[in-house]
């Protein structure tokens, strides 16, 4: 059996993946129609388009010896369901999520908004989030926590 001292030499993170499907349109009111078209290309299509997003959430904390867990998955799943999946899944990010009424819903900004919502999880420390927009591109955000990217 591992002693607490041995465990102290190791930092453990819990990773959980979630899936949501949503539409968006990349368009900045600060840019002209031509600039929007040039910068965002087909993502500027006025009717929008969608993705199957994969969200990866990394939590750190002490492993509770009574449960063997950093955070109870039922608690984490319920929290993410409430904070992210209910408001984002099968929604238009631009129209249905208040933060993107103004901010352009690039996946960079989606990461930042998700991090902002999840960092209040009470039972563990949010290290970083990673959002995969397609199988070919993904984005990560660790807030202002420098350690979040040191791994």
């Amino acid at each position: 059996m591992s002693s607490d001292a041995q465990k102290g030499a190791v930092k453990t993170e819990l990773g959980r993946r979630y899936h949501f499907a949503a539409s968006h349109r990349l368009h900045s009111p600060a840019l002209s129609a031509e600039e929007n078209c040039r910068i965002y290309g087909k993502c500027n299509n006025p009717f929008g388009h969608g993705h199957n997003y994969v969200l990866e959430v990394l939590m750190s904390g002490k492993i509770d010896p009574a449960t063997g867990m950093i955070a109870n998955l039922a608690d984490l799943d319920g929290f993410v369901e409430r904070e992210i999946l209910d408001p984002f899944d099968h929604k238009s990010l631009n129209k249905d999520v208040a933060a993107f009424n103004t901010a352009v819903p690039t996946t960079e900004n989606v990461c930042i908004e998700i991090f902002r919502r999840l960092k209040t999880f009470p039972n563990a420390k949010l290290e970083r989030v990673r959002v995969q927009e397609t199988s070919n591109n993904s984005f990560e955000y660790a807030g202002d926590n420098p350690e979040g990217f040191e791994r």
């Binding site: 190791v10 819990l14 990773g15 010896p65 009574a66 449960t67 998955l73």
Partner: protein, 143 residues
């Protein structure tokens, strides 16, 4: 520094049960993972070693050596085993993904002589995993 990762898969069964909890508490905390007969997963283990490539061989460490270490330390111990009853390193612990990953780190770290163990990532399912790193500044700035 270069990071090298090798992946292996093993299948094992487990159950979550704390003898200090009442049956109701066990069911509430652990849900269906508390089924007394156990259940199983196909685990995927990714082991990442950090080091400088040897100027002669071009290798951080010989993959054959790493494969042998993983076979001896992980596969023989855990593959097609009931983790609660057959893995002494897990005795007295709830065999969660976090705890299994920590045990694997402790088994592998002293055996890896070339390069340094950087990360152990253990997937219990494609959507659930635990990562272990060396605590402290070592390994910082390398993903």
């Amino acid at each position: 520094m270069v990071l090298l990762t090798r992946k292996i898969e093993f299948a094992a069964s487990h159950l979550y049960h704390n003898p200090h909890f009442s049956p109701e508490e066990n069911r509430r905390v652990f849900g269906k993972c508390n089924n007394p007969h156990g259940h199983g997963h196909n685990y995927t283990l990714e082991v990442t070693v950090a080091g400088e490539p040897d100027p002669v061989t071009g290798m951080v460490l010989d993959l054959k050596d790493l494969k042998e270490i993983l076979e001896r330390e992980v596969m023989q111990r855990m593959d097609h085993r009931f983790l609660n009853y057959e893995v002494p390193e897990l005795a007295g612990q709830i065999p969660t993904c976090e705890n299994i990953a920590c045990v694997i780190w402790q088994l592998l770290d002293p055996k890896i002589k070339q390069g340094k163990l950087h990360r152990v990532r253990l997937y219990e399912t494609p959507d659930l995993f635990a990562d272990c790193y060396r605590n402290g500044s070592e390994g910082a700035n390398a993903r």
